[in-house]
Structures are given as C-alpha cells and as structure tokens.
C-alpha cells in the first residue's frame, strides 16, 4: 500500500493557481525529492501534505490527499495529521528554550508528563538525529547557542520526538555549510529505514544522492515523477531533460 496518494490536487492563493492537478504516490520508507526552479510550487506542495497552508489566509484547495488511505482534508484531524507528518523547515527554527525543552516540547503538548519517559524520548530523538554526542553535556543550555547545523539537527530531533511516520523537509540544508549539509544527508539515509521522507531541494546533486524517487515541478505543474535514476538519466519529458541538463551544465 502507498503511504501517500495525491489525486487531482489544485491549490489557489486567492485568484492565482499555484498547483495544477497534481497526481503523485509516495512509497513507504522511501525518500522522495521534489525539484524544480524556485516558485514552481514544490514548497507549496509539501505544505499541503501536513496542511500548513491552512495557516495562510485565502488558500483554497481541491482534490484529495490520502495518508494511509484516509483523506487528510476530510477524515483526519489536523493535529493528528501533523503528529503523523512531521516537518523540518528551510531555516533552523529552534524555540528560544533549552535544547532539552525543544525536543520535549512535542511530547509534552501531546500529554506526556512523566519525567523519565521524557528523558528517554529526548535522548532517543537526539541520538536518532546524530546530535546526542555533541549536546549531551549542555542539554539545559539555550538551543540558540548551537551552531546552524546543530540547530537544524535539533529541529529534526524535535520532529522525531513526536514519532511521526512521514517527515517533510523543506530545503533543510539551504542555510547550512557543506559539512553540516553532509551530516544531514547521512542522517536522511539513516532515517528512511524507519520513516517516509519527502524533501524539497534546489540542489540537484543532493536530490541525486539522497532520494529514491524524484518529482519535477514547473509552474505549479508536476511535469514528471518516478525513480530518481529514471528521472535523471532517462527523463520522459523534454522540459525535465532541459532542466536537469541545464543544471548539470
């Protein structure tokens, strides 16, 4: 069974149509990369999957998005949905709290009060985000004292602490240096054993390195999607080929 199925998804910002009839499936425990020039709708699309677009005034959506066969706009409570579908943002956005409190925030708001359970979750999540060794001695320092790369891994740990099934990543490395980027990419490789990952990236090499599937967006349309190798080396659509070859020089 597919993890996510998107059927005929349209999205309007007021009068402007930002997504046009998107159809796409996501396999469980795979990494799907969304590529395309900026403004092509890939970030808008990823935000429809956990209904972050609900927060924006004047957004209209039609079509269906199924998560495990259930329509997330009709059959699933938005808060339940966001627990299942976590998100990592473009710029690291840790809360102005301690490292510990950042990770414990999610479990706490979902009703976990027990100190020992929280400690376990924090440790497990930080380990899964490959950050534990670097911060275990300063769990109670401000999260803002971490470096940019560490902050982004903290944000990943914060997402993992809620035990999602799907993780959305909106250009998670665009604000980071190459070494931090490499660490996050290794982490993605590790995480896909347990989670389904959808990542927006403007970096073609990154898409090639980390993803199993690739989807190419242009002007709000999904031009083509399939296994990454196929999209990269044997694209069906002329526009995809132009974009990829253009990018590779």
């Amino acid at each position: 069974m597919k993890k996510i199925e998107v059927r005929d998804l349209d999205l309007f910002y007021g009068e402007v149509q930002a997504l046009k009839k998107i159809n796409l499936d996501v396999e469980p425990n795979s990494v799907l990369a969304l590529i395309g020039p900026s403004g092509c709708g890939k970030s808008t699309f990823i935000r429809t999957l956990n209904r972050m677009n609900d927060l924006i005034e004047g957004v209209k959506i039609s079509g269906t998005v199924l998560l495990d066969g259930k329509d997330i706009y009709k059959e699933v409570d938005v808060i339940e949905l966001r627990k299942k579908v976590g998100m990592v943002f473009q710029k690291p956005n840790p809360f102005p709290m301690t490292v510990y409190d950042n990770v414990a925030y999610g479990p706490r708001i979902h009703g976990i009060r027990d100190k020992r359970t929280l400690n376990e979750i924090v440790e497990k999540s930080l380990k899964a985000a490959a950050l534990w060794d670097e911060v275990k001695d300063r769990l109670h320092h401000s999260a803002l004292s971490l470096s940019g790369g560490q902050q982004q891994r903290l944000c990943i740990a914060r997402t993992l602490a809620v035990e999602p099934e799907v993780i959305l990543m909106d250009e998670p490395t665009s604000a980071l240096d190459p070494i931090s980027t490499m660490k996050i990419e290794e982490l993605i490789e590790e995480l896909k054993k347990k989670y389904t990952i959808i990542i927006v990236t403007h970096n073609m090499q990154q898409a090639g390195r980390v993803s199993d599937y690739t989807a190419f967006f242009l002007n709000g349309e999904l031009v083509e999607w399939g296994p990454t190798d196929q999209v990269f080396y044997n694209p069906k659509d002329k526009r995809t080929e132009d974009y990829i070859t253009g990018r590779f020089g």
Binding site: I79, E80, K83, I109, H110, G111
Partner: protein
C-alpha cells in the same frame, strides 16, 4: 493516544480563545461606558438645567454659584486652545529637530544619549513638572517679566517640555522607517545631508510628523495638574502672556471636589469633561485621517 487528553486539549484551545476574545471586547465596552457615563452627566447641563449650548460654548461668564447659574465655558476653551497651541509651536520644531538628530545626524549619540534622555523626559510625572514650574518658572517669570508669574506663559513653557518627547519619538519612528533607497537616491544625485533631510526626508515623513504633532497637541489639551499648578486659575481669557488664566482641565481639577453632585455647577464641570472627551476623540480621528495619507506605509 489518550482520547480524554485530546478532548481536554481541544476544550482548552476553545477556552483560551474565548478568554482573550473577552479581554479585547472589554476594551470596547470600556470606551462605550466611558462615553456613556460622562455624556449622561455632561448633557444634564443642557437637558436638566436648560442652559443653551450656545451660552456654554460662547459666553465668557462663569458664575456657576449664582442663584441663576451662568456657565459660560469660553474662557476655559480659549485657555486650553491658547496654552496648547503655543506649547506646540515651541515643542514641534525642537521635537522634530531632535528626531532628525537621532536618526540622521548622529545615530550613535542618538541611541546612547538622546533616546534615553527622551525616555526619561516621558517618564517624569506631570506633578513633578508642575512642581518645577511652580517653584522655579513662576518666580523666574515674576522677577524678570513682572506680574505674579502664574500665567499663560508659564503654562505654555511647562506644556512645551511635556509634549516634546511625544513629538520626538513619533517623528523619529517615522523618519527611521523611511526606505533606505530614497536616502541613497538623494545622496547619489550629489545632495548634501541637509538637502536630503529638507527636500526628501521631511516631505516623505510629513504624515508621520503631522501625527506626532497632533499627538502632542492631544497630550497638551488633556494635561491637567502640571498646567493647573502654574497658570493661576482665574476664569478669564488672558489678555497677555503674563496674565493668569484657566483651562478646561484646570477648572475641573479645581472645582470638582468643591461642588455637590447634581447641581448646575457640578453638571457644568461634567459638560467640560464631555467636551474634553469629544476633543480627544476628534484628535484620534484626525490622526487616522492623516495616517492614511502616508506614502510609505
């Protein structure tokens, strides 16, 4: 997941919204009841005591303790207008100049010295300004210009100091928020700093500066104690800067405690309060109209 916790969480979410919503509604209720209560007392001068609005606004005879009370409020209205306008004539140029200094001339000194100084000016309580006026300014005026010292001039000077910080900080905010590009455009054409200030920045910031001046005027109009302490409180229209006088706020301050609720005298004071309320609301509307004309907002 614990279903009960989910339900409690949803309820809490609703409840929170209701609480903050009611706080906001309370503000509306407060304004309405302020107008309602002050109007209900203030209108009785005209409804119960049958004093024509024309007499109240345009007669200079304030003899509310007579058998047939006369409550001409003209001296107070004129007094408030005179003292406020002259105060602004002094504080507006100084305030705008210091705002320009802070933003354009020396950012560093502005931030480190002038800005904190302006904030302290705002913080000094009005009774302290009044006390300073009374113990320094009034004797000074009396000694060097003659008269008692309690005068229109003293009121003007005290209010000029009190309205200055308002004008400075609002103007500074406006000038600061002007886009960098228009400064650069002017300098790129070879303009000096003064030319840029005079021909580009001040015109562009005009609506904001006007707002600042109206806010200062509103503050001057509504200030009670500091003015009351230095103007001598004679219910007449002053013929020179050195004569004692009264304002709307000063007469309310002085006489409210000495009158009995329900008498024509007391009602007339409430009418003055209503007048103040209407004027301050008028200033707010004026600011909104001016603000809407802003170019860079």
């Amino acid at each position: 997941m614990d279903k009960r916790y989910e339900v409690a969480r949803k309820r809490q979410d609703m409840l929170g919204k209701v609480i903050v919503f009611s706080s906001a509604v309370l503000l509306i209720v407060l304004v309405i009841s302020l107008f309602y209560f002050v109007a209900s007392k203030g209108l009785s001068t005209f409804i119960v005591n049958k004093i024509p609005l024309k007499e109240f606004l345009f007669s200079a005879e304030w003899r509310p303790d007579r058998e047939v009370p006369q409550v001409g409020a003209l001296p107070f209205i004129v007094g408030s207008v005179l003292v406020s306008i002259f105060a602004i004539l002094i504080s507006a140029p100084l305030g705008v100049s210091s705002a320009i200094f802070m933003v354009e001339i020396s950012k560093k000194m502005g931030q480190k010295i002038l800005q904190p100084a302006i904030e302290i000016f705002v913080g000094i309580p009005s009774v302290v300004y009044g006390w300073l006026g009374l113990s320094v300014l009034v004797p000074f005026i009396s000694k060097h210009f003659g008269g008692l010292g309690f005068s229109l001039l003293a009121g003007i000077l005290v209010l000029a100091i009190m309205t200055l910080p308002t004008i400075t900080s609002v103007s500074a905010d406006t000038i600061r928020s002007l886009p960098v590009e228009i400064r650069e455009a002017s300098y790129a054409l070879g303009a000096t700093r003064w030319q840029t200030i005079r021909h580009v920045l001040i015109p562009a910031a005009k609506p904001g500066i006007l707002t600042a001046i109206i806010l200062g005027l509103a503050r001057a109009f509504g200030e009670a104690l500091a003015v009351q302490m230095v103007i001598g409180n004679r219910p007449v229209i002053p013929k020179s800067f050195l004569e004692p006088m009264s304002t709307i706020t000063s007469i309310i301050t002085m006489e409210m405690g000495n009158t009995v609720m329900g008498t024509a005298w007391n009602n007339a004071l409430w009418s003055l309060a209503l007048l103040l309320l209407i004027i301050s609301f008028f200033f707010i509307i004026l600011i909104r109209l001016v603000g809407r004309r802003g170019m860079y907002r």
